[in-house]
Amino acid sequence: MELSELYRLMLVARRIDEEAIALQRQGALPGYAPMKGQEAAQVGSAAALDLTRDFAFPNYRDLGAAVAMGVDLVGYLATHLGVWHGGLYDPRASRLAPFNAVVGGPVPHAVGWAMGAKLDDTGGAAITWFGDGASSQGDVHESMNFAGVYRLPVVFFCQNNGWAISVPTERQVAGGSVAARAAGYGIEGRQVDGNDVMAVHEATREALDRARNGGGPTVIEAMTYRIGPHSTSDDPGRYRTLEEEQAWAEKDPIARAARELPAETVAEAEEHAARVVREVRDGLLALEQRPGEELFSFVYREPTKALLDQQRAWKESLDA
């Protein structure tokens, strides 16, 4: 993919991120996890996927991936609106697993999916995004080991954004690098400049190609920075300095990409992003609360009798 296209996607992600924060401040969203600063890591990697056969496993801060994968953004942001935990987008059609709030939790799912794809010989590969903090979780280790033993087509994409809430990478990742862990599993590991969208894109494409060709899993660690707070209820002033934030703001992946593009491309992207933001904003504000009955839906393929009884009692208490 060309830089201009990646730029457009990054800019959309940035503008929607800003809009989500604004909506939160206006009281329309109960909470939000800003991804400002991580656009290159997310867009660059997600844009490398082949959506006809690959599948992606996000965490809770992967708006940029959703943008690059063409996921219904109103459906994606519905999670933050408090409408439905997993979002309202169709995970199967969009090739993006439901929004997942357990740090490290979805990582083994990518491994299982990759095994399934390998058994079916589809040529598909899985990618999973997780943070530097997530790398401490047992599940991430178990997943890398399984993937290494079975040589599965999966890319472990770590967005090392410097912080896990208030804990900096150096107090989180012993040894300092998640990519360096790969060698211990006999698999490829690569650190990339996470604010260089082309470099991320290239590294991810390479890893996906290797996966497809039976070359096994890869760990990619994209070194980037969460410019905003951990969430809209976080206060980074309690744990990091303005200077640090400033230094990273200067490495802004979007400004950096813009410098390499013609002014009209940049301007055109801005217009495009504004259009998308308007649509998404309108869509979000138009989004209605799910009907109360849905509390009882989807728990099983068919509701159990006990659940139907509970639903009936709930209904009666409403009518009373």
């Binding site: 935990h85 997993g86 439901p98 929004f99 083994p108 799912h109 299982g112 393929r301």
Partner: protein
């Protein structure tokens, strides 16, 4: 009619499930080449190949997490966790992922996963090899939980669990693995969530599951010698629970004793007792008695028989309910 031990019946059910549906996958620690520490998967890797029946590294959380991903990719995973007490490392994946993905994905990602879990005590095993986790699992929305009490039940319920579109925790009573029964393995099954009366009686109902069912049958034999006719109800589905079946039995007998191996406090016996009381309050002649494991860690072999509900303790429970007089 052919005779099978529970272990053989389960093996056969797995074999038939693999034959009938080529999306079924069996995996876990030592289930492949070794055929499982209890030999429940014996011979299946040879039959279905290393892709469909395979060993995993030693990590229960990843086993369940991998099952989730396989289900998303359209497979029907039947993982094993080697022993009850080692499902704790996988609880996060089971509760936060397996049980919820169908809900979280608004029905677009079914999780037809059957977790085979050798369960309960009674074999003088090391620590963590004798645990009863049904109360934990039954509390989790999105899971189904079942435990067979005999080889024929084992065959039928395992086929049913694997065919079920929802995640099922299949608790195998390991002290019964070598117990035999003659039956024809057909796939005729009762609906999910139904119990069965394994002995009829009118003086009180004993409610049990897993290995405690046969013990309750022994109790009923003994009681019959004294003219006390006990009904024995094999609850088998621990989620969803057959409230109607419980109510039907207890409204006849008007007295009930629930028996389980797990510790008393917040055990599934409390749920069973409460369901019975909610439905049969006016008919009950005595509070539902609980005869269970004690509120202590599952003990070492020497003390195992003191811990498990013994025939004597169950009989005492029966006697208490029969002699109960409103205070």
């Amino acid at each position: 009619m052919p005779e099978y031990s529970l272990q053989q019946a389960l093996n056969l059910a797995l074999q038939h499930a693999c034959e009938d549906d080529d999306r079924v996958l069996l995996f876990g620690e030592d289930v492949g080449r070794l055929g499982g520490v209890f030999r429940v998967t014996d011979g299946l890797q040879a039959k279905f190949g290393e892709e469909r029946v395979f060993d995993t590294p030693l990590a229960e959380s990843a086993i369940m997490g991998m099952a989730v991903g396989l289900a998303m990719a359209g497979w029907r995973p039947v993982p094993e966790i080697q022993f009850d007490g080692f499902s704790y490392p996988a609880i996060d994946q089971i509760v936060n992922q397996v049980a919820r993905l169908h809900y979280r994905s608004r029905g677009t990602m079914p999780m037809p996963i059957t977790l085979r879990l050798p369960s309960f005590g009674g074999i003088r095993a090391p620590e963590h090899h004798g645990e009863s986790l049904e109360a934990l699992f039954a509390h989790v929305p999105g899971l189904k939980v079942v435990s067979p009490s005999s080889p024929s039940e084992g065959y039928r319920l395992l086929r049913q669990a694997i065919a079920d579109p929802d995640p099922v925790i299949f608790m195998e009573p390991k002290s019964r693995y070598w117990h035999k029964e003659s039956f024809e393995p057909t796939d005729a099954t009762d609906p999910v969530g139904t119990s069965r009366v394994v002995r009829q009686g009118k003086h009180a109902t004993l409610v049990a599951w897993g290995a405690m069912v046969s013990r309750c049958l022994q109790v009923a034999e003994l009681a019959a010698e004294d003219g006390v006719e006990l009904e024995v109800l094999d609850l088998r589905w621990l989620k969803p629970i057959d409230t109607d079946g419980l109510a039907a039995s207890v409204s006849r007998a008007r007295r009930a004793v629930v028996v389980h191996e797990a510790p008393l406090t917040a055990g599934l016996g409390a749920e069973v007792a409460t369901l019975i009381t909610e439905r049969c309050f006016g008919e009950l002649k005595a509070p539902v008695q609980r005869v269970t494991g004690f509120d202590v860690p599952y003990p070492s072999g020497d003390l195992e028989d003191e811990y498990l509900p013994s025939i004597d303790r169950i009989l005492t429970g029966v006697q208490t309910t029969l002699e109960y007089r409103r205070g």
